[in-house]
């Protein structure tokens, strides 16, 4: 994955100091926190773009790192990897724009035009008109509860493990598992009912 390669590069530059060590150092030398920004801002920006579109992502990233910086004295230093913590903060900030996010899924499901993909289309050669599968997926995403959607997208778009999602969202791993199962079941149903237990109700749920 592109994101992972970049992270490895940043870590080398920093002489391999783990995230917890960087945060610990930043308590005395606040500037040191910039290292976390350089490690994770690119991928968190991409995650915000994917959920909200290009225009809101800059503020989400800036606010995520400001909030993290202000809270760094409460970071649990026994956790070497700060990535889940940062995605948790970003997720809360993305959640403030829930209506924007849902509207884009609904529009995509209805018209096949993805406003979010259009928003970054001038930066990359992106496919703006969606496939039938993506229309159905968007419809399913619009119908999920905020908590279920958060878990599903942290797994699918941020590549977090179950344990990392638990850490990011602040819920037990068992709850992550049950939320993800429910979200996947509904999504599968929307893709054409590969799941024999899928029902019409779920399809519109």
């Amino acid at each position: 994955m592109i994101a992972r390669t970049d992270r490895a590069g940043a870590a080398e530059d920093a002489g391999d100091a783990g995230d917890a060590e960087v945060i610990r150092r930043s308590l005395e030398e606040p500037d040191a926190f910039a290292l976390l920004f350089d490690r994770y801002a690119p991928e968190i920006h991409r995650y915000a773009v994917r959920r909200l579109g290009d225009s809101l992502a800059d503020d989400v990233v800036a606010d995520t790192f400001l909030a993290a910086f202000r809270r760094r004295d409460r970071y649990d230093l026994t956790r070497p990897d700060a990535r889940p913590w940062l995605y948790g903060i970003a997720g809360n900030l993305i959640g403030r724009h829930r209506r924007v996010e849902i509207r884009s899924y609904r529009a995509l499901a209805r018209t096949g035009v993805d406003e979010v993909a259009e928003s970054y289309a001038d930066r990359v050669d992106a496919q703006v008109s969606a496939s039938a599968v993506q229309k159905d997926l968007a419809g399913a995403l619009a119908g999920l509860s905020a908590g279920d959607r958060e878990v599903l997208l942290l797994v699918a778009w941020a590549d977090l493990t179950y344990g990392e999602v638990a850490e990011a969202v602040g819920i037990p791993v068992g709850t992550v598992r049950s939320r993800l199962n429910r979200a996947r079941r509904k999504t599968r149903a929307a893709l054409g009912g590969a799941d024999p237990t899928a029902t019409e109700e779920e399809r519109h749920g």
Partner: protein, 344 residues
């Protein structure tokens, strides 16, 4: 294709941002870093926020060298200077210089309640007034240096101000942070006004207060015993000196007296060297660290806190805080002013 893989391909062409694009966001972070107070984190009243029982609360400490004072699971020598003889780095007991003395918990806390009740109520601040706070801290395993901090926080929590590392005074916006469970002075004041002033009702309320159970997100799933939680939440409220209604302060002391395991040790010193009454909670299970709320012996005002490690705390295979380390704070001023930069 399974639904998760299909989802992974959706909007997969979204690009990562490059350094140019991220420049302004990075600059905002660096501006905040430049204005951060030296030595400890930026925090709004962080030291008013007691340590969580296991992992939490460590981060607010700045680890440096190693100076230990007291013994594992022994009572803490409260009158040894922070630069005293090192000991207990491997968990071995050091010799306490003074034997701890205890007060009659119920008597002391009832007297504290009576004195608190007699205080006049302060006028409610306006949203654009500022809460000024000056406090000192001593880090647990540094060289015992007393660090002084000053901060101004607008009553509505939207801005803060202070002197940065470069000595310049700055006022800055506080970014939105829906995941933060700390509150603005205004929200604390609202919350305090709503709390029951009957000690039993107050205790029941804080024992089950969802706000402080679900969060912080940094510490998910930590099962905290109800008594420990009640002590911790009451401690958070007691730290809100500038907006504390007298009848609530009285109720807090009476509620503390009702929590099993709460005791009062005499002569516990804050970071300014003032000796006071050290109210602490001894849990039913293993006690890893002890946090004293230090009260002035005559006025019963909150002076500061002292957190003492009773066992070595190991982080990443290293002893970060040897048994006997202490993180100590002292409140020097906490008041409402009209403008940032004013001290009274």
């Amino acid at each position: 294709m399974d639904e998760l893989n299909a989802l992974r391909e959706m909007r997969a062409q979204a690009p990562e941002a490059d350094a140019d694009r991220l420049g302004p966001a990075r600059e905002r972070l660096m501006a905040a870093a430049r204005t951060a107070p030296a030595g400890t984190a930026t925090g709004r009243r962080r030291s008013g926020r007691p340590a969580r029982p296991r992992s939490g609360g460590l981060g607010r400490i700045v680890p440096a060298g190693a100076v230990g004072l007291a013994a594992a699971l022994a009572l803490v020598a409260v009158q040894v200077a922070p630069t005293g003889p090192p000991g207990g780095g491997d968990g071995a007991p050091a010799t306490p210089a003074v034997t701890a003395r205890y007060a009659e918990t119920a008597v002391v806390l009832e007297r504290a309640a009576l004195v608190a009740e007699s205080r006049p109520a302060a006028a409610a601040p306006r949203p654009h007034q500022w809460q000024y706070r000056r406090y000192v801290t001593v880090q647990p395993n540094g060289d015992g240096e007393v660090q002084e901090h000053e901060e101004w926080l607008r009553y509505d929590g939207r801005q803060n101000a202070g002197y940065g590392l470069d000595g310049a005074f700055r006022v800055q916006d506080v970014p939105p942070d829906p995941g933060d469970d700390d509150l603005s002075p205004e929200k604390y004041a609202e919350r305090l006004r709503r709390l029951p002033t009957d000690p039993d009702e107050l205790l029941a309320h804080v024992t089950g207060d969802r706000h402080w159970i679900d969060l912080p997100k940094e510490d998910p799933g930590g099962a905290e015993p109800p008594d420990a939680r009640a002590f911790r939440v009451l401690s958070v409220y007691l730290g809100q000196r500038a907006v504390m209604p007298p009848e609530l302060e009285a109720a807090i002391y009476r509620a503390l007296a009702r929590i099993p395991g709460v005791a009062v040790e005499l002569g516990v010193r804050d970071a300014a060297g003032r000796a006071g009454l050290g109210v602490f909670h001894r849990p039913a299970g293993e006690e890893r660290e002890r946090r004293y709320l230090i009260l002035e012996p005559d006025t019963f005002r909150y002076l500061g806190s002292r957190t003492v490690w009773l066992r070595d705390e190991v982080i990443g295979g290293e002893v970060a805080f040897p048994a006997g380390s202490a993180y100590v704070t002292a409140e020097l001023a906490s008041t409402i002013v009209d403008r940032p930069g004013q001290r009274s």
